[in-house]
Symmetry: C2
Subunit: 409 residues, 2 copies
């Protein structure tokens, strides 16, 4: 039951010149469902990515990093669901390489121009024969307007496909920015989300694209949490196809940089929030805004301490204004010299705690009224400085336990 | 549905000379239940405590720290359930002091010789009139053999009272060590547990008792987690009544120190494990043993990363050997230079992952067999050094969500 989230209208997802998408039902884990996506990118495109910091990163993540580091022009992305190809040892690495080799052969490019991605169960062998057999049918479906189907193909426990699109004026040109993402559990991205792909038809040099990608990740996927677990396969990749005729953006000082960054940030944030809205078992969408911190890092620690607290999350699920749990989470965020007597807590328009204690005018029914809604702003003022941050999260419900207790069955 | 845990047999709980316990039904939050405990300690006793590191610590914790720091001989402990007296501002502090003043008046001691403790809902005013009115009836029930009733009195969401007792030979004397604890949720103690009290009839000087207390906390309550939340009220206090005729233990070098430490550690560990066995919604008891770490801190980070992972905990609830989630949690523990290829994972006697990948002989049915049991050893070998640690935790079930969504109703 996603929170205020519906499947994207395919007509609203703009094609990106120079980018084609095709899918297959490869039977990786289950039959009769789209589970293999191939994206072809025109020659001359640039690509940048950020990846999970989990030390048990999956084989495809290792290969992606290698291929991007080598600086070869990216020509294709291959994404399978149903299996994460993580915790699979040397055979897993070999299978990730085989995926690139076969895709390269079919598209007449070099293997290092292919980026592989996998998502699904960890510690199980990737059924590589079925994956390879699915590549040709996927490629046969290549079309620039297949973004909605692409979003559907990469779903795992997602209940709604996630896609977003913008057209933005960059300099004198219109640029299309379109992206897809998947993810609903094991969500506490650390430099990236489960899987996110954004493409645009602007031309951007590789170092500038890397800066754009990192900024977008930091403002979107790096600000969400469903359950505090970081996946082995988190990847966020941005493609600039260069199909537009405008000269490339080659410096972060180019005035067009900020215009483009804004559009990418918007698309990435919409996708990141969609992941939270469709968080496993989610019934509420919470924005945690922490202000008055000594640094952004400090604000972030407080925000995540609230976002990760099972007690806060279950109270929100119950619409129970048991708001002392939020104070406990703030106190538990590892700021050794935090002065509790300077902390203010607000829920939407309700002032709950003043100077560390219950506000004398706070009435339980006001807290209950806010918690009955599906979208809740938790605002904390620490009284320590001027830094702030925002994190998005969802509640913890029976649905989460059911989904994760039954995930493989 | 606690895991292999039954209520203590009152006959097995040894009285500690110099310690008397009495309770009342004060109606702090609900009527007709024991919710106020007073413990009187003989003159000449020493006391030591460790307390929550949560910066939103409760008013009684502040007062306990003050009174212990002042070095006055402790003569009484007062514990109420139903209200945490946390997030209650200056009124909360006043109420904690009032509790000490009235108890002192009734027992003819000084207010700073009383230690107050509260546990229950945060951010709600303590009903101080009802608490004060309950003191006299509690004191009227003073008796040395009321440990079982005391354990019952301090319960909140606990389903089973928690008490443990040992008789140990220290030097030439027999010493009785008896303790009680409470706690089932908001459990990730940081230098202490929710509430734990251990008393013995040995004589121990204050600095030595502090060393004993810290060691016992580090080996017991500081190694458990139910949900990763640290309470505002965590307190662990050890009393040495000095009622025994043996000369006081005045140095950690005294050969009797290790004998006594072992008994206190045993009692504290039994109580700490009882908290996990009665963890909110628990159906499984897991021991996480991390070996081959570069330091104990490193081992502890890995152990808690596993113990706190909602995905690991829900898989255990489902008896689903989705064991890649354990690898993801290990990789997610913040050890930047962890080499996944050196990691071994065992479940009881089953070798699941060898050198970072699935063991070729591992069969799913072997994992499933282990997970069907109620007591599971998760053993991780990091291959980095010789340090190790053990953490105890439980699974995450529908019961946890139900209990915490309904806690105040």
């Amino acid at each position: 039951m996603p929170v205020n989230l519906v499947a994207p209208d395919p007509a609203q997802l703009r094609a990106v010149a120079g980018v084609e998408l095709g899918w297959a039902e490869a039977g990786i884990r289950k039959a009769n469902r789209k589970d293999l996506l191939v994206i072809r990118v025109a020659a001359g495109a640039t690509a940048a990515g950020v990846f999970t910091q989990n030390r048990f990163c999956a084989a495809p993540v290792v290969v992606c990093r290698e291929h991007l580091a080598r600086g070869s022009a990216v020509r294709a992305l291959v994404i399978n669901t149903g299996n994460a190809n993580a915790g699979t040892g040397p055979t897993g690495m070999q299978n990730a390489h085989l995926t690139c080799v076969e895709t390269a052969r079919l598209l007449d490019v070099a293997p290092e121009q292919v980026l592989p991605f996998s998502t699904g169960v960890i510690l199980e062998p990737l059924p590589i024969e079925r994956l390879l057999a699915g590549l040709a049918p996927a490629i046969a479906r290549f079309a620039p307007d297949h973004w909605a189907q692409a979003a559907e193909t990469i779903m795992t426990t997602d209940t709604v496909p996630k896609a977003a699109s913008r057209q933005v004026k960059v300099g004198t040109q219109h640029v299309n920015v379109t992206g897809i993402a998947k993810g609903a559990g094991m969500i506490r991205p650390d430099m990236a989300t489960m899987l996110g792909f954004v493409a645009m038809d602007a031309a951007v040099t590789a170092p500038v694209l890397q800066a754009l990608t990192r900024e977008a990740a930091d403002r979107s996927f790096n600000r969400i949490s469903v359950d505090g677990d970081t996946s082995t396969n988190d990847s966020f990749v941005v493609i600039a196809s260069g199909a537009s005729s405008a000269p490339p953006i080659a410096s972060t000082g180019d005035p067009r940089y900020r215009q483009l960054a804004q559009a990418i940030n918007d698309v990435a944030t919409q996708l990141a929030q969609a992941i939270v809205r469709d968080g496993e078992g989610a019934t509420k969408f919470m924005e945690i805004l922490v202000e008055g911190a000594g640094s952004v890092g400090e604000a972030s620690r407080v925000a995540y301490s609230i976002a990760h607290s099972p007690l806060v999350k279950t109270a929100f699920f119950a619409s129970d204004p048991n708001l002392g749990r939020i104070l406990a989470a703030i106190g538990n965020s590892g700021i050794g010299d935090l002065d509790a007597n300077r902390v203010q807590l607000y829920l939407n328009d309700v002032w709950v705690a003043r100077d560390g204690g219950r506000h004398p005018d706070y009435r339980e029914e006001d807290g209950a009224r806010v918690l009955k809604g599906a979208e809740i702003l938790v605002r904390v003022q620490l009284g320590r400085g001027t830094a702030s941050t925002t994190v998005w999260t969802c509640d913890l419900s029976h649905g989460y336990v059911s989904i994760n207790a039954d995930y493989r069955s």
